[in-house]
């Protein structure tokens, strides 16, 4: 039986806007994320993706319903640090989440907050930096690194806290294509090699292809859910929602419309090449 990492039980989160109106950012969400799973959350700006992520590590508390992380209720104030240790979070802007002036000091920030022995911190910092392949940069000043490298440092900072689950809130949105690739390779490796549960929020369809499961959100609700192949085979439905499909899927879709006989669940260049 699959173990549950994050469970959302009929969760609603509302906020008050400038005109004093209450707006639901997230409405009646039911969701289960399993241990070791790689989940991608897609959606437009303002669809509630980030709110969903922040609900998962108690940065926001639900208005209605319950969120459980590893079986712990996020509204339990005594367990809040356990939750944040279990579900680490990486944010969009790498500059605004690096605290220290030296890479290794920044990676040590999380474990230092947890009150871990200095020797153990040293070990964890080196392991975490090795896991994101940034060990040779450990004495650099963060502002001298590229965006992709900074984001990997941020991931290492979360890894050093030994979380079971890593939530990434659009970590690639501010990066150039090569930086995005670096970060995605790192995330994929952490999921496969270290068995970390990954919850990845993004705009990019080619990143979603790597997932085990895709969740599409709109107006605070989950409107589609499934494996990448199931989701991206419904090209027309996605287009109607204003969402894109990966380039290769798009090409395959157009070819099929022209009468060429190929399956409708092509996601990668290799698949398309072998079919043709």
């Amino acid at each position: 039986m699959k173990e549950i990492m994050v469970k959302m039980d009929n969760v609603t989160y509302e906020y008050t806007n400038n005109e004093e109106e209450r707006i639901a950012a997230v409405k009646n969400i039911n969701l289960e994320i399993y241990k070791g799973e790689f989940v991608v959350i897609l959606g437009h700006n303002g669809s509630g993706k980030s709110t969903l992520a922040k609900l998962m590590n108690a940065l926001l508390l639900p208005f209605k319903g319950k969120v459980y992380v590893n079986g712990i209720d996020t509204t339990d104030m005594n367990k809040i640090w356990d939750i944040r240790q279990t579900a680490g979070m990486v944010f969009q802007n790498p500059d605004n989440q690096i605290v220290a002036t030296i890479v290794e000091e920044d990676v040590a920030f999380g474990p230092e907050n947890q009150g871990i022995e200095p020797k153990e911190i040293r070990k964890r910092v080196d392991e975490a930096l090795a896991a994101v392949e940034m060990l040779e940069y450990k004495e650099y000043a963060p502002h001298l690194l590229s965006g992709g490298q900074k984001q990997r440092i941020a991931i290492a900072g979360v890894l050093a806290m030994k979380p079971e689950c890593i939530i990434l809130d659009e970590p690639t949105a501010m990066l150039d294509p090569s930086g995005r690739k670096e970060v995605m390779n790192t995330i994929k490796r952490l999921n496969e090699k270290e068995r970390k549960t990954i919850i990845h929020i993004t705009h990019y369809m080619d990143e979603a292809v790597l997932a085990d499961r895709i969740i599409i959100m709109e107006a605070g609700q989950i409107i589609m859910e499934g494996a990448p192949k199931e989701i991206f085979s419904q090209v027309e439905k996605l287009k109607k929602m204003g969402l894109d499909v990966p380039q290769v899927t798009e090409l395959a879709y157009k070819l099929r419309k022209e009468g060429i006989d190929i399956p409708n669940d092509i996601l990668t260049v290799e698949e398309l090449v072998s079919v043709l």
């Binding site: 940065l59 907050n113 009150g115 502002h143 900072g157 979360v158």
Partner: protein
């Protein structure tokens, strides 16, 4: 260009002076400053000079680099010198217009100038040989005993670290905003002081807004990484006192005693 500004004018190196425990270096600097104010004769200055020369040669910092640091403070040194020179009463040596130069004045003026120069060189040696991070660490550790009387040692150190961390980021951002405004015809260079100050408003407003937004995001990121103040917090790098720290401290104490002896014997 603007990014290359060195903060706290740290001069990287790997010498004994660089490796000294920051706490010891801060205490030594304090003792040094206090000692300077006990000196009332010229002779003890020789010891101070010897001490400074020893530290500089051990730290391998070029003398030119240190003199460069004196430059911005030169006006203060000169004003102090001149004031003491003309304002001290005593035996007149010669006159310049209405002003008298006395032997006592000459004595006092050069005395004060030496004190100021030693003061500046001594303190800049601290910042030149200690990286900002270890300096913050040292300050935090030294202030720790005062926590009981309400000195927020950890918070002060954290603020300094974050400030140091964000200086390059904000400088970069200021440059970006400046270029964006210049591309739209803003003029930062011509006009008198008042006009130039005015032209900085469209630079500072977006910079401040963005700094607040950054602060907000950073606070959230810190909380997500379990930050909850200084309590029960450990540090990866422990400060450990070595033999060299005790030797350095002893040398400073000997200097201090010599100065006291000259003063009171």
């Amino acid at each position: 260009m603007i990014k290359d500004i060195t903060i706290g004018q740290y001069y990287p190196g790997n010498t004994v002076i660089h490796k000294l425990d920051p706490r010891i270096k801060i205490i030594i600097t304090f003792l040094f400053i206090i000692a300077l104010f006990f000196i009332d004769k010229f002779l003890p200055y020789l010891f101070v000079l010897g001490f400074i020369i020893m530290v500089i040669s051990m730290s391998k910092i070029p003398v030119k680099y240190i003199l460069k640091g004196l430059k911005p403070l030169l006006p203060i040194i000169i004003i102090t010198f001149l004031l003491n020179l003309f304002m001290t009463r005593g035996q007149v040596v010669f006159e310049i217009g209405p002003l008298d130069v006395t032997i006592e004045g000459l004595n006092k003026a050069s005395f004060m100038a030496f004190r100021l120069i030693f003061l500046i060189v001594g303190t800049s040696l601290l910042t030149l040989t200690t990286s900002p991070i270890s300096l913050t660490d040292g300050i935090e550790k030294l202030l720790n005993p005062f926590k009981k009387i309400g000195v927020p040692a950890h918070e002060l150190a954290m603020m300094m670290t974050i400030a140091l961390r964000f200086i390059p980021t904000l400088l970069e951002e200021a440059e970006k905003i400046m270029k964006a405004q210049m591309a739209r015809g803003a003029d930062f260079e011509s006009g008198n002081v008042l006009n130039r100050a005015k032209s900085l408003v469209p630079l500072l407003v977006p910079l401040f807004i963005s700094a607040f937004r950054r602060a907000d995001e950073l606070a959230m990121a810190m909380e997500a990484r379990c930050y909850r103040g200084g309590e029960n917090r450990t540090r990866m790098k422990q400060l450990i006192l070595n033999t060299r720290d005790f030797i350095a401290m002893s040398i400073m104490l000997i200097l201090f005693v010599i100065i006291l002896l000259y003063r009171y014997l």
